[in-house]
């Protein structure tokens, strides 16, 4: 698996590169800012990028902005945000386009290399990997929300989390699209998701699922 790392702290990008190489991953580039990241992605066409959120010049959200751009320009490249902080503002935007191939882990998660590499592979393969702490921020600490769901609703939600559409889920269960729509509406209602853009609610529902998983 080919990886590009973007982090302005040299000790961290080199440390991470060594760890990933120890597990047989190929770090094709390790860069220090968003501009270099975009060039490296264009040049090396990696499977996944690991992006620090705070990078020069302003050290606020350059990494996230770069990730949003990469998403548009290279939708097939997995993006794992890698930060010391929980930043929720653009994460929802990033997930809203599609939660597939996006991850967000706090930096200390490298303590468990197996989990970390798993998450990286999942993201590279179009899956999701969200840090429990990020999730709890996104969900505002409302836990146990899935308790009210029926087993079928949970199954539907699990498939939504994998990024499947209502039609795909309906085919899987061999029921009508309308039946799935009804399940989805029930899920939204039971999770207490505010009426807003449907996509946004879908992401939130998925996030809740991920949290409880």
């Amino acid at each position: 698996m080919r990886v590009v790392i973007a982090d302005d702290a040299v000790i961290l990008r080199e440390g991470l590169a060594r760890l990933l190489e120890a597990r047989g991953l190929t770090v094709v580039a390790a860069v220090a800012d968003a501009g270099e990241l975009k060039r490296a992605v264009a040049e090396h066409a990696p499977d996944v990028v690991v992006v620090d959120i705070r990078m020069p010049p302003t050290h606020t959200d350059e990494g996230l902005r770069a990730a949003l751009e990469l998403r548009r320009e290279h939708p097939d490249v997995g993006i794992l945000l890698f930060s010391q902080y929980v930043e929720t503002r653009y994460v929802k935007d990033l997930l809203a386009e599609s939660a597939a191939g996006v991850g967000y882990l706090l930096k200390e998660r490298v303590a468990d290399l197996d989990d970390f590499v798993d998450a990286l592979r999942r993201v590279a393969g179009g899956g999701t990997a969200l840090d429990p702490e990020v999730l709890s921020h996104l969900l505002g600490g409302s836990r146990g929300a899935l308790d009210g769901l029926t087993p079928r609703e949970r199954e539907v939600l699990a498939l939504m989390a994998e990024g499947r559409t209502n039609d795909a889920i309906a085919r899987r269960f061999v029921v009508s699209g309308r039946a799935i729509e009804k399940h989805v509406a029930n899920i939204f209602a039971k999770l207490g998701l505010p009426p807003s853009g449907d996509d946004h609610r879908r992401v939130l529902a998925v996030l809740r699922y991920l949290e409880s998983a």
């Binding site: 000790i11 060594r18 120890a22 302003t58 010391q84 503002r89 929802k92 200390e108 303590a111």
Partner: protein, 405 residues
């Protein structure tokens, strides 16, 4: 020298008499006209012009006092600089020094009377008494029986010279008496035409407090940066090195120790993160809107957010952020609310932040409560916290913060 000084003091008395006529006429004229016309658009500006005039007149008076009496009175600080015509009017109306100058001129007529009377009783009568023998010789200013005081006749010659002696004494007394008579006016000038100490002090304190508040916001931000780039990054690096260690050593006590060390380091990273969040949430670097949106994301309430503000002074943004954080937390913990509305708008120079929830109400800012803590924090930048929370709800709490210094 002495003569020169007495002469200057006499000149000053003369100027006092002139000012005591025109000063009150001017201020009373402007103030009454302004007050009567305050039902129209020009009344209040006229009032302000009168106050400005009184201030300027006070400046002339200070100049005379310095030149003639050697009484150097510091110039009061200028009125606050508020933008626009009405800002200027407002700053003049609220300028204590204008009103003090008005008070000074209203008090001038009795001062002038005292000074003029003193001059007449000492200088004039002294001169008259001194020249009594001369007047007698010329047949001026005489009564039929001649002068007498308390039945003691000042006739015949050379008794009239006693009158001259008394005149001399009066003239010796004159400069001293005039100086004494000027004393209350000097005190009045110092008190009413100089800088109002408490007002000047308040201004100084406001400025230095603003500096302190801004400096502390800047320091907190710097600490946050330093922690992120320094201690936190090194901790993460340490975790990575320990991970590498675990990869290289065989299963056994060494690997377990490395894992324990990682747990400790991870704990430290979490604690640093919490610490930073209480000091200066990193998201604030992206402005109030981003920071409040992030906050709204983290509370288990349906939150409607309306933030229409540009970038503001860092200290104000920080205080607004922590207020909303605390108010939303309160709404979740105590009010049983499902929904909250958060708005932040700039109104004039005032940042108005409002948090409203549909909970059960009854929130009060009792001493020691979270709300009174917020009130103290808001007070650091001269803001206000208004609580509207009837029993049964809803609760609406408004925080007003001056957005500019």
């Amino acid at each position: 020298m002495r003569c020169g000084r007495a002469g200057r003091e006499l000149l000053f008395v003369l100027s006092t008499v002139v000012f005591a006529v025109f000063g009150p006429a001017f201020v009373v004229g402007f103030l009454t006209l302004g007050t009567f016309l305050s039902v129209t658009a020009i009344g209040v500006p006229l009032l302000a012009a009168g106050l400005l005039g009184a201030r300027r007149l006070g400046g002339v008076q200070r100049g005379l006092a310095a030149a003639l009496l050697g009484e150097r009175i510091e110039e009061p600080p200028p009125p606050r600089d508020l933008p626009g015509f009405y800002g200027r009017v407002q700053s003049l109306l609220t300028d204590p020094h204008g009103w003090r100058a008005v008070a000074f001129y209203l008090l001038q007529p009795p001062q002038a009377l005292l000074q003029a009377a003193t001059v007449v009783f000492t200088w004039c009568w002294g001169a008259v008494a001194l020249t009594h023998p001369l007047q007698r010789a010329l047949g001026w200013n005489q009564t039929r029986e001649g002068w007498s005081i308390a039945g003691y006749s000042l006739e015949p010659f050379p008794r009239p010279f006693l009158v001259s002696l008394a005149g001399l004494a009066l003239l010796w007394l004159a400069p001293r008496a005039v100086r004494l008579a000027l004393l209350p006016n000097r005190l009045l000038m110092r008190w009413l035409l100089g800088p109002h100490r408490p007002a000047a002090r308040i201004r100084d304190l406001e400025e230095s407090r603003a500096l302190v508040v801004d400096e502390s916001a800047a320091v907190l931000r710097r600490i946050e940066r330093d922690l992120h780039d320094g201690a936190q990054a090194r901790m993460v690096s340490l975790i990575m090195q320990l991970t590498l260690l675990k990869e290289t050593v065989p299963e056994g006590p060494a690997r377990q120790l490395a894992a324990q060390a990682q747990d400790t380091a991870s704990q430290a990273v979490r604690e640093l993160r919490e610490l930073v969040r209480g000091l200066h949430p990193p998201v604030l670097d992206q402005g109030l809107e981003a920071a409040l949106a992030a906050l709204a994301d983290t509370v288990p309430l349906r939150t409607e957010l309306r933030v229409e503000v540009p970038r503001l002074r860092a200290a104000v943004e920080t205080i607004a952020y922590f207020c909303v954080a605390e108010l939303l937390t309160n709404a979740v913990r105590h009010s049983g609310a499902d929904e909250a509305r958060v708005s932040a708008v700039l109104d004039g120079g005032l940042l108005r932040v409002e948090v409203e929830d549909d909970g059960r109400g009854g929130a009060t800012a009792l001493p020691g409560s979270g709300l009174s803590g917020l009130r103290e924090r808001v007070g650091a930048v001269d803001g206000r916290l208004l609580v509207h929370s009837p029993a049964g709800g809803p609760t609406r709490i408004t925080v007003e913060l001056p957005a500019n210094r």
